[in-house]
Every structure is written in structure tokens, then in C-alpha cells.
């Protein structure tokens, strides 16, 4: 077998090279993953916090239902539902671009996993932390804001790191609704050029580099947020 890396300098028929197309696609992958990450973090932190509230059984049930719903349906099916079904049921959402719909799908899917980690993090704290907040005369909201969540989020940074990397990898599923991201590029360029191995190698490398970058960024965040002298064991994560 011979390599033909020149394929990346060829014109793809629209005046740009395959290399430029691939870098564009990388940009789409990073934007989808980045926007979904924000949605997942905000919603996940909120839902995960609700699941640990004392004295609010209905909010806890609602938040638990949220997690079960988004965890037990495959991501691909969720993306199809956001793309095909939701705009039909809610005509208001007809004008949303497929990018926004995929960000919702991926963000909500991941939010369930984040919520699970947040709940585990809050429940891993000794009960005394909550009592300490109450003894200070804090309201529940203040206890969470100043005592529980700052501790819980530090504990769960390792599993959040792996969830963030999962999110990046899961963004590949967006190919299914024709987002012009890396996997879509890989499939189309492979068909057009028949240089599948070179194309796939390059795309795989970009995914690996991106995942590694996420890992390093989170390591820096972890170090920055570390409380000197405090050692906490991370909760275990799972999944892909």
C-alpha cells in the first residue's frame, strides 16, 4: 500500500482543498462540543442539585425522571427526535438551525450524566457540611451556594473531565443530521477521494488531539481550584 497525503491538497470541487474542508469540520466539531458543554454543565448542575434537595420530594422525583429519560435513550435517537420530531410538535422551533438542535440534543443528553456526577459529589460530602451551613443561619440556597456546591464541584472534577471528553467524542454522532463536522467530513471525503485511510487517520488524530486538549485544560482547572492541603477522592465515572 502506498500513502498519498497529497490528497489533502486536492480541490474538493468547491474551490477549497480537502485540508481546508477538514479544518472547517474540526471547527464545527469544536463548536458543537463547546456549545453543548455549556448547556450540559448549566442544566446538569441545576438538575443534579435538585436531586439532592432535602424536604422537596417532588423536585427530587422530577430531576430523577429527567436523568432517567435522557440516560436511557440512545444519543442518535435523541438527535433524530430533536431534528425531526420536536419541530413538528412545536412549530415555533421550525426555524432553528440543525446546529442549535444538535446542541440541545447533545447538551441535554450529557446533562443527565453531569447531573448524576453532581448528585454523587454532593452526597459524598459529610452531612456536617450541610449542618454547618444551617448553623450559620444560611438559607438552603445559601448553603448550596457557599458551602456544598464549591466542595462538591471540586470533588467531581475528575469524572467531569472524562464526561467532557465523552462529550467531545459524542459530538461525532451529529453527522447523522448532516452537521459538517469531522465524522461527516471523513465519510464524504472518503467516498469522494477513495483515500479512506489517510482521511480517517487525519480525522482520528484530530479527535485524539482535541480529547487530549480537553484533558489538559481540565487538569489546569483542577490545579487552579485545588484547596491546599485538602485531598479528596474522585467519584468513579462510566460510559463512553
Amino acid at each position: 500500500m502506498t500513502w498519498d497525503w497529497q490528497v489533502f491538497l486536492k480541490d474538493d470541487g468547491s474551490g477549497r482543498t480537502y485540508l481546508e474542508w477538514m479544518l472547517d469540520a474540526w471547527g464545527w466539531t469544536l463548536s458543537v462540543a463547546g456549545a453543548s458543554w455549556v448547556v450540559a454543565m448549566v442544566v446538569g448542575a441545576f438538575v443534579g442539585t435538585l436531586r439532592t434537595l432535602p424536604y422537596s420530594p417532588w423536585l427530587v422525583r422530577l430531576a430523577n425522571a429527567w436523568v432517567e429519560l435522557f440516560r436511557n435513550v440512545p444519543l442518535l435517537v435523541q438527535i433524530f427526535i430533536w431534528y425531526f420530531v420536536i419541530p413538528k410538535i412545536f412549530p415555533v422551533m421550525k426555524d432553528l438551525s440543525s446546529f442549535v438542535l444538535v446542541v440541545f440534543a447533545l447538551g441535554f443528553f450529557t446533562s443527565a450524566r453531569i447531573a448524576e456526577q453532581v448528585r454523587a459529589g454532593v452526597q459524598a460530602l459529610p452531612r456536617g457540611q450541610r449542618y454547618a451551613g444551617m448553623a450559620m443561619g444560611f438559607t438552603t440556597a445559601q448553603t448550596y451556594r457557599y458551602v456544598i456546591l464549591p466542595m462538591a464541584f471540586r470533588i467531581i472534577i475528575p469524572p467531569l473531565t472524562s464526561e467532557s471528553m465523552n462529550l467531545l467524542k459524542n459530538s461525532s454522532v451529529a453527522f447523522a443530521v448532516s452537521i459538517a463536522e469531522l465524522t461527516m467530513f471523513a465519510m464524504q471525503a472518503q467516498e469522494e477521494t477513495s483515500r479512506g485511510i489517510e482521511i480517517y487517520l487525519a480525522v482520528t488524530a484530530l479527535y485524539a488531539i482535541s480529547a487530549f486538549a480537553v484533558n489538559r485544560i481540565m487538569a489546569v482547572v483542577e490545579k487552579k481550584l485545588q484547596i491546599p492541603g485538602l485531598v479528596v477522592a474522585g467519584a468513579t465515572g462510566g460510559g463512553h
Partner: protein, 228 residues
């Protein structure tokens, strides 16, 4: 309701389109779980062997697989498995996507199961290892009779959870057009012009299966916890 019409669904459609896909999804899940656990345990043993010639390739394989999206791995195998391979299997050339999917999932899941098994083996206390050695067991006997059975048992809930995730991930064979549960629904939906309803039904079926299974894992988990 909401402009949806589910009246097209009947037993005939389910048995013609959905069952076939469901069977493949289940087969893929079962084969990938068993194969993944077998190869994953081997990979874990390689990584824990302490011999660089075994540790290094196993580590590269596991970390490599885990840093690439499953969809890309599916595409890779579909590209790389040679056409002559499919003709080794009777009738195989008609089921290229399906056969390639099975190979992919075993290879991919082995990396994830190996991490679970590695954690399981490491969770066994040194005393157990030493006890085996004190009885004069070889390394292989010690692994087979003392450590692996306990490691496996400790990890059963996590292995089952991974299997549920695996079942959901089988829907990604969409990328190469294999006929799975999701494809069964979409095919029927397209044929009757009811795409949206088909996706909704697929979501409900996946949800019921995965929720039911994870409920069972949770119960098993609490029973195992009491025994321990």
C-alpha cells in the same frame, strides 16, 4: 395529538421490520459483551503483568480505542476489513455491515471492559494474592481460582451497566447502514411516510428496555451489597 398519527403501527409491521432489527441489536450486544469481557480480561492481565512487552501494547491499544469516537472506529473497521473476509462466512457478503459491526464492537468494548476488569483485579486485597501464593499456587492458578472470580463478582454491576450503554451504542451502526433496531423503525417509518412517529416509537422501545435493565441492575446491586 401534536399532528402525530400512530395508527400505522400494527403487528404485521412490527414482525416484518422491527423484530429483525431487534434480534440483530441483541445479538450484537451479547456477542460484544462476551467477547469484550474475554478480550478485556486478557488486556487487563497484560497491563497488570509488569512485563513491558505486554504492558506497552495493551496500554496503547486501550488508550487508543478510548480516545476515538465509536462512530470513527465503526467506519475504520468497515473500511479495513477485507472483502475476502466476509466470504469466509456463509452468506456473509450480504451482511457486510452487520459482520463488520460485530468485529468493531468486540474490539472497541474490549478496551472499556479491560478498564473495568483492571479496576476489579486491583480491588482484590493483597492478602488474597499472598494466600494463593502461600498455598503454592502458580501465577495462573492464583489468577484463575482466587483473583479473577472475586474481581469478576465485584464488577458484575458495572459490567452490566456497561452492557446497557453498549446496547444503546449499537444504534450507531447507522453510520454503515447495518440493520439494527433503530433501522427497523426508520425503514417502516419511511415506507409508510411516518418518520417522526417511527423515531418516537424507537425512543420509547429503547427507553423501556434500558430503563428496565438498569432497574434490574440496581436491585442486583443492593442484593450483592448485602452479601458482601
Amino acid at each position: 395529538m401534536f399532528g402525530l398519527d400512530l395508527s400505522f403501527v400494527n403487528w404485521d409491521i412490527i414482525s416484518r421490520f422491527v423484530i429483525k432489527g431487534f434480534i440483530f441489536s441483541v445479538q450484537l450486544t451479547v456477542v460484544a459483551t462476551l467477547g469484550g469481557i474475554i478480550f478485556g480480561t486478557l488486556l487487563a492481565l497484560m497491563r497488570l503483568s509488569g512485563k513491558a512487552i505486554l504492558t506497552v501494547p495493551a496500554t496503547i491499544y486501550v488508550n487508543g480505542m478510548r480516545s476515538v469516537p465509536l462512530v470513527m472506529v465503526i467506519l475504520w473497521f468497515f473500511l479495513l476489513v477485507p472483502a475476502s473476509f466476509y466470504s469466509l462466512i456463509p452468506g456473509g457478503s450480504n451482511y457486510r455491515a452487520e459482520i463488520s459491526a460485530v468485529i468493531t464492537f468486540v474490539a472497541f468494548e474490549a478496551a472499556y471492559f479491560s478498564e473495568i476488569m483492571r479496576a476489579g483485579i486491583q480491588s482484590i486485597s493483597r492478602g488474597q494474592v499472598n494466600a494463593g501464593r502461600a498455598l503454592g499456587m502458580t501465577y495462573a492458578q492464583n489468577m484463575r481460582l482466587i483473583i479473577l472470580p472475586q474481581a469478576f463478582r465485584n464488577m458484575v454491576p458495572i459490567l452490566l451497566t456497561q452492557t446497557i450503554i453498549l446496547f444503546q451504542d449499537t444504534s450507531l451502526v447507522y453510520a454503515i447502514g447495518a440493520y439494527d433496531l433503530l433501522k427497523g423503525f426508520t425503514t417502516a417509518g419511511k415506507l409508510y411516510g411516518r418518520t417522526e412517529e417511527a423515531y418516537l416509537l424507537a425512543a420509547v422501545v429503547y427507553f423501556v428496555i434500558c430503563f428496565g435493565l438498569s432497574f434490574m441492575v440496581k436491585r442486583l446491586n443492593s442484593r450483592i451489597a448485602i452479601i458482601r
